[in-house]
Amino acid sequence: MKLSCIIVEDLQVAADYLKGCCEKSGRIEVKAHCTNVTEAINFLDTNSVDLIFLDVEIPGGQGFDVLDKIAYSPKVILTTSKTEYAYNGFEYNVTDFLKKPFSYQRFSDALKKIEATTTTSKNNDSNDDDHIFIKSDGKLVRLKNDDILYIESMGDYVKFVSAEKKYVALNTIKNLETKVNTRQFIKVHRSYIVNISKVDNIRENTLFVKGSEIPVSKACKAEVIRRFNII
């Protein structure tokens, strides 16, 4: 199956070249080409993609602003002519860095890295662990998946909410998204992951989980509808 992507790039010739590379590979479908930050965020608010080719210096801000605003974590390949941005790239967990202009071979190598990490992530997804360990109050605490109602972001920390207790741990929703059992949990908002089996009802863009109201973001809505089997 082809990976879906968007190209965020304000230089037309660079965007065209990238499109050409994607077509030539036969492994990537380009869903959109956005030339500025706002356009990219608007597109990603209502569409989900596997991969973003992201230029850094674009009108309306920096490419990293796009990553800050979207509610999920697609793979990212930075495409810029300035190597200084590579360091920031590490902080944003980007998979590779293509210095413009680049050869098709270099593009292809980057694509292999994406495919390798996608395979790894899919393998992780299939794990059936019924618990997770979290570091809270200086000790490792074992939490059964069945006991967790939802996980909420608190800046650099997250709160694991069970019916009995709340645990705060140093972590991020972005990181936990791939660490929790994805058959049992779903990210519904950039600040929330919920236990699917604990959702009592759904009203418009809100999930009700044992008395708590959890918002569903536009970007996550399609996946929520799919996973909750809403007919």
């Binding site: 010739v13 070249y17 050409g20 210096e57 002519s81 202009p101 098709y104």
Partner: protein, 133 residues
Amino acid sequence: MNRNNSSTFSFSEKIDADYIFNMYEDDYPYIETMFKTVLDHFDADRLAILTNFQQNDLELLRKAVHKIKPTFGFVGMPDVLEKCKAFENKCYQVQSTKELETDYKYLLSTLEDAHQAIINEHNKLVSYNRSAA
């Protein structure tokens, strides 16, 4: 060294043929398209440089040069790309565009020469591809 022989297209000496081959191999219709795309946007990108210099907006001037810089890689002119990079770096070292007068004139002249070379090469590519069709 240019990759020129009688059976393939001969790039002028201003274009690094190996650089071009590394990106597009010998797909000359595609190369023609890429040169055309560069030409279609060249004036607007250059105008951004002119405007921001005249308005003494150093950061926007740097951004405009940063934007046009990789263009020259796509048409096999890595030397021009490097000159743009040098100008972009100078923007970080000064307080006002006034301090860049000499570098700016050199940049404009470099861009003008490059523009003409791209036009010439594009015309040659059009003729070559027509005759090969």
